[in-house]
């Protein structure tokens, strides 16, 4: 029961934890100790990190289409500044 309560309480700090942003050192130690002993929380931390990895990977796949860029430069009257490499 205690284990469950700890999991629930510590879950609120896992986002800060994976950002290495838990300012309270004692709390950070407690989270680390808990994760070391609790397989479920270790999985939550690992899958949380993987979720962010996928978000970053998804972001890299989203590029500005060249036609959208051309229409933007046209709308802003900046056609003279659109370079060949921009449209590649």
């Amino acid at each position: 029961m205690d284990q469950e309560r700890n999991c629930q309480e510590l879950a609120a700090y896992l986002s800060d934890y994976i950002d290495d942003n838990v300012e309270d050192e004692a709390l950070c130690d407690e989270i680390e100790e808990h994760i070391h002993e609790c397989e479920n929380c270790q999985i939550v931390v690992d899958t949380l990190k993987k979720t962010l990895y996928l978000v970053h990977a998804s972001a890299e796949q989203t590029v500005l289409p060249s036609q959208v860029r051309e229409r933007l430069y046209h709308r802003l009257d900046l056609e003279a500044f659109i370079s060949a490499d921009d449209n590649s």
């Binding site: 999991c7 629930q8 879950a11 609120a12 896992l14 986002s15 800060d16 942003n21 397989e39 479920n40 270790q42 999985i43 939550v44 690992d46 899958t47 949380l48 993987k50 979720t51 962010l52 996928l54 978000v55 970053h56 990977a57 998804s58 972001a59 796949q61 989203t62 590029v63 500005l64 289409p65 959208v68 860029r69 229409r71 933007l72 430069y73 709308r75 802003l76 009257d77 900046l78 003279a80 500044f81 921009d86």
Partner: protein, 204 residues
Amino acid sequence: MQALQEGDRAEFAKVVKAYSEKIYRLALKMLRNQQDAEDILQETFIKAYHGFKDFKGHSKISTWLYRIATNEALMFLRQKGEPEISIDKQVRVDDGQSYTPTKIVDWCCLPEEELMSSEAMEYLDRAIEQLSEAMRVTFLLRDLEGLSTRETAEVLDISEAAVKTRLSRARMHLRERLSGYYGDVLDSLPIETSHQGQDVLEGS
């Protein structure tokens, strides 16, 4: 900065080149519609061009541009009424008082082609779309665009504590959703592959 405030076209073009892809990506992930994202992109730079003369330089240009784009996107969503997302669905994701994860599946071991399949990426986008506007924009600025907590707070004019709270809920929600999705993928794989995952888990 002075050149921008004086309407220097070449300097403005440099700003457009540096930030257009970032603004488009943010708008696309916010609105999930290419035409709407393009409209927000254009409006952002038109407003920026006319607004440079009043830009005080208290924040970075990027932060200022993100603020314009964010306001444009949020205004668009409110005008549109976001019919595809039911209000109660948003509330459910937004008011989650509990952070407690319920789906405990180790899907980290899945092969890259499963993790990054177009179906999986579409599922991720839909999960992001289900976040409330407030959580979505916070998450996208922080985790998609890589702004710091402080910059995100500045763009949204909220406290850093509020950014952290929204971000934590958004991340936990997405993890939960992806755990459901990839859990099903794991179940559908041949037993040998699924066992490899268990072995990795047990050995860690």
